[in-house]
């Protein structure tokens, strides 16, 4: 496969991961005002739960996937109900610190349950490239990741724009007090938003587990790097999560190709810095969220 093909496919795959993660962050931010630094931990949990179900218990692929996503949803909602519900209306940085703390706690729980050593899951979807066409080759696990991202984004978009639930969530994002006055159960919507964010992260975790060994410490880095993509796209726009995710992935791939693999992260954070300095609201974000 040519370099171009390599970069293109990697960008799509990595960008898909970022889009999935980022969409969860955006939905959560729009509904609750919380910028979650905890997505990384949910990625880890999702990956491990799927591995456990699929490789240890023997649940077939799609069933395991579904179960993993369901459990992530439940976990996310519970986290809200037990923790963040108490912090409603707290200052921004309290919430930031709380999600950082949550990240660590969840990670620790995973380490205590599964150990800190790398676990290489058996190959679930083939890692082999399916032929090469004009210099382009793609493997089944990569197809899966891209399709999963696309599906998730479409489903999210449909839920938000076509369903009763979606309208209720958007109403809470627009004006929480008015929503409550109009009989919308705001706490349920917040729990839902957390559930969605955790599910998104879980899906990203499953996709990651198809291509890399499981490592509770390393896997959760993506939860922070994705912030560069989210800010690039605009933190209150799901479209932004997609665009920003893809752009970030592209920049990363180019850096890896030109400078070497270890430059991927630093460049991402340079992108983040750049966005914050030059255009804090990102490509698609609204200006109002930015200023004091």
């Amino acid at each position: 496969m040519s370099t171009f093909g390599n970069i293109l496919v990697s960008t799509l795959v990595q960008g898909s991961l970022y889009a999935i993660l980022g969409a969860g962050i955006v939905v959560l931010f729009r509904s609750t005002g919380v910028v979650s630094f905890a997505q990384g931990a949910f990625v880890v949990v999702g990956a491990y739960v799927f591995y456990y179900l699929n490789a240890r218990v023997g649940v077939p692929f799609y069933a395991a996937l579904l179960l993993a996503l369901l459990s992530m949803f439940v976990i996310g909602s519970l986290i809200y109900l037990l923790m963040f519900r108490r912090l409603t209306g707290a200052e921004t940085f309290v919430l930031v610190i709380a999600t950082l703390g949550l990240n660590v706690v969840i990670q620790t729980v995973v380490i205590l349950s599964a150990g800190v050593n790398l676990i290489t899951p058996p190959e679930v979807l083939s890692l082999a490239t399916l032929g090469v066409w004009h210099g382009l080759g793609i493997a089944p696990y990569q197809i899966f990741t891209i399709v999963a991202a696309g599906t998730l984004l479409i489903v999210l978009q449909l839920i938000l724009s076509r369903t009763r639930l979606g309208s209720q969530m958007r109403s809470v994002a627009d004006n929480t007090l008015l929503a409550a006055l109009m009989k919308v159960h705001v706490h349920r919507m917040s729990a839902l938003a957390w559930g969605i964010a955790a599910t998104c992260a879980g899906l990203a975790g499953v996709c990651l587990s198809l291509q890399t060994p499981l490592d509770p410490i390393g896997l959760q880095d993506i939860g922070l790097v994705v912030l560069a993509g989210v800010m690039l796209g605009g933190i209150d726009s799901v479209t932004g999560a997609l665009a920003g995710g893809l752009l970030l992935a592209l920049v990363q791939q180019l850096s890896i190709t030109w400078f070497g693999g270890q430059w991927s992260d630093p460049v991402s954070y340079l992108v983040l810095l750049g966005v914050l300095l030059v255009r804090p609201q990102g490509l698609y974000g609204s200006k109002g969220i930015v200023r004091l």
Binding site: G89, I97, L112, V184
Partner: protein, 643 residues
């Protein structure tokens, strides 16, 4: 968005601000300093070498935490930049101290300057952005600095880090022990004194003003930008100095040390110890640094090979996560201020404020039988009671004359409808102490329309909000009793009130700008009910069906809002300032709609109006709210003298 709004703030309570109650901020007082010195002396006398090592480490971390307290606790800026800043200080020291022209304390000073410069650079763009943007900047800084450090180590061949020779002053080498701890303590005490001097004077006031409200501060001559920058630059310099000392102390500077976890641990220190408190920063540093040690010795008691021992590092780092969460959720001011506030005068001063406990939570049906049929008399006489006068409300209006009383009672007693809502001596105060309602009593029957008129600021909106419910975070204090359909609802949240059948259409933001008309009625409300109850409005809204509500005119929004509210099948529908901002034609239209709605069985209407004509047209009874107190509406135009 401006924070200079009318009325109560949105209830966000700053964490750790040293007033949990009305206590004066005390920068580290003389007594606390003495305690600190005492502890250090004891440590030097009885501590083992390892204890002394730990003690020195705690002091260095305390310096770093003090820097963060300056930035976060005093000035209110969120930062996870302690890691990178200490790294910058440490590496600068490691590199420069090798040169003969740079004996101690030259590298420390240079490290401080470079740290300060870094603070300046990262701060400049964030001056006008919201809090978490700066936090993200420091996050980015963390990874960039860590990467730069790793790359430097690899490229220069120092794979396990840079070694730093110990401090030499006048030929004497400092190695671990009493001498080192003493030196560090002196530096700590000096820092505390310098900071305290600033906090007690103008700089401290400037930072606190910025922390409380940047926008408001700028309007009263606080040079926000300048002082924000000073805080960034100063704290960054201090943290870099701590990093420099760290390099000397541990003798090894390695990129493995300055991880994100390391950076976050300083935030944990300030939160756990208590923000806006130097004692808190020091206590927090001690707690966070020593608890892993404590844990290690505890785990020694566990059987060999148990999970506790095997996963110790993980537990260590998980520990601080748990600490943070526990403190954030249960001890919002942190450990040190909580201890300080154990003193009783906090409670005494709280009592002076108003004295009463927060409103009772919503209870089940109280079992109170329907109140005896009331007439307008009940409301007016209660407010003019001697109690009202005793509370200092000097407003005296003449008691309604006998003639007026009869007139009013006929209006109401005509119907045999039962009472839906009884408000008794409702008093409402906002979090800042402002009195919004002062012992209001009112009752409304089923199928009755009552209007409350009055000037702005009289408390009309508060009255409706009290019925419609407040969020807990709005920190509103309510006293008295509000019984709706047999339920006590004085402490209700908006969702609870709405589920009982109380629906409020607010004055300003009454629709959701990004939702379409269709989504309002079909997804939030009940489309069938909307269509059957208000068919004319339904028809009218059809041509706007797909438009986002944000694009609707004032009158269209009002119709949409009323339609939505009506579709929720309320027992009590409340509308705040229906006519505000509407053209006369629209007012007429909406009035017709409401009159039609009233034909519905059991629907009561409570409207608040500035416009007396509208109020009289719609309502069977008009009441007058003046400075938080309810008076019977006279139903006539006010005379000149009142203007």
């Amino acid at each position: 968005m401006s924070t200079l709004r009318v009325g109560a703030k949105s209830g966000k309570e700053p964490i750790g601000i040293s007033g949990t109650g009305p206590r004066r901020t005390r920068p580290l007082g003389v007594s606390s300093l003495l305690v600190l010195i005492f502890v250090v002396v004891v440590l030097c006398v009885v501590g083992s070498e390892f204890d002394l090592y730990l003690g020195g480490l705690v002091i260095i971390f305390a310096l770093s935490a003090l820097g963060l307290d300056w930035l976060m606790g005093r000035t209110g800026q969120v930062s996870i930049g302690n890691g990178p800043l200490m790294a910058i200080g440490a590496y600068t020291t490691a590199i420069i101290s090798r040169h003969p022209w740079a004996p101690f304390p030259v590298p420390v000073i240079i490290a401080g300057l470079i740290g300060a410069g870094t603070g300046l650079v990262i701060a400049l763009p964030s001056l006008r952005l919201r809090g978490f943007y700066f936090a993200l900047t420091t996050l980015a800084l963390q990874f960039i600095v860590q990467f730069a450090a790793e790359t430097y180590e690899t490229d220069s061949g120092n794979f396990s880090g840079l070694t730093v020779k110990p401090i030499r002053v006048f030929g004497h080498s400092f190695n671990y022990g009493v001498g080192y701890v003493a030196l560090l303590s002196v530096i700590l005490v000096l820092t505390v004194v310098l900071l305290s001097n600033m906090y007690k004077r103008l700089p401290g006031r400037m930072w606190r003003a910025i922390k409380e409200s940047e926008l408001a501060a700028s309007t009263i001559q606080v040079s926000v930008r300048r002082w924000k920058l000073t805080s960034f630059v100063g704290s960054s310099g201090l943290i870099a100095v701590a990093g420099s000392l760290f390099a000397y102390y541990t003798g090894l500077v390695s990129s493995d040390t300055f991880t994100l976890t390391f950076a976050i641990s300083f935030v944990v220190m300030t939160i756990v110890g208590g923000m806006n408190s130097m004692a808190g920063a020091i206590v927090g540093a001690a707690v966070v640094t020593l608890s892993p040690q404590l844990l290690t010795s505890i785990s020694g008691h566990f059987p060999q090979g148990s999970w506790v021992q095997r996963d110790l590092p993980a537990i260590n780092s998980g520990l601080y996560g748990v600490l943070v969460l526990l403190v954030l959720l249960y001890l919002p001011t942190g450990i040190a201020p909580s201890l300080q506030n154990l003193g009783g005068d906090g409670a005494k001063r709280l009592r002076r404020l108003w004295g009463d406990s927060p409103a009772a939570p919503i209870t089940q049906k109280t079992g109170i039988p329907e109140s005896p049929p009331t007439n307008g008399l009940h409301s007016s006489s209660a407010t003019l009671s001697p109690q009202a006068q005793r509370h200092g409300s000097g407003d005296r209006s003449p008691a309604p004359s006998g003639e007026e009383r009869d007139e009013r009672s006929t209006l109401v007693q005509g119907s045999e409808a039962r009472t839906l809502l009884t408000i008794h001596e409702l008093a409402v105060k906002y979090a800042n102490g402002a009195t919004a309602l002062n012992r209001v009593s009112l009752s409304i029957r089923e199928n009755e329309t009552v209007a409350v008129v009055g000037r702005n600021g009289a408390g009309k909106t508060t009255l409706l909000r009290s019925l419609g419910g407040f969020f807990g975070t709005e920190k509103v204090r309510r006293r008295g009793s509000v019984i709706f359909d047999g339920h006590e609802v004085i402490g209700a949240t908006p969702v609870q009130a709405a589920s009982l059948g109380i629906v409020l259409v607010p004055e300003r933001e009454k629709v959701f700008p990004s939702l379409t008309v269709a989504e309002h009625l079909r997804h939030l409300g009940n489309a069938e009910v909307a269509r059957s109850e208000l068919p004319e409005v339904w028809e009218f809204l059809q041509r706007l069906w797909k438009s986002p509500a944000g694009s609707l005119s004032g009158g269209e929004r009002q119709l949409l809002a009323i339609s939505l509210a009506a579709s929720l099948e309320p027992r009590l529908l409340m509308i705040d300032e229906m006519s505000l901002g509407l053209a006369p034609v629209m007012i007429e239209r909406v009035t017709e709609v409401l009159l039609g709605l009233r034909q519905r069985d059991r629907l009561s209407l409570l409207i608040v109006e500035q416009n007396i004509a509208v109020a009289e047209r719609l309502a069977q009874r008009v009441l007058h709210l003046e400075n938080g107190e309810l008076r019977p509406g006279l139903g006539t135009r006010p005379v000149d003298g009142d203007l």
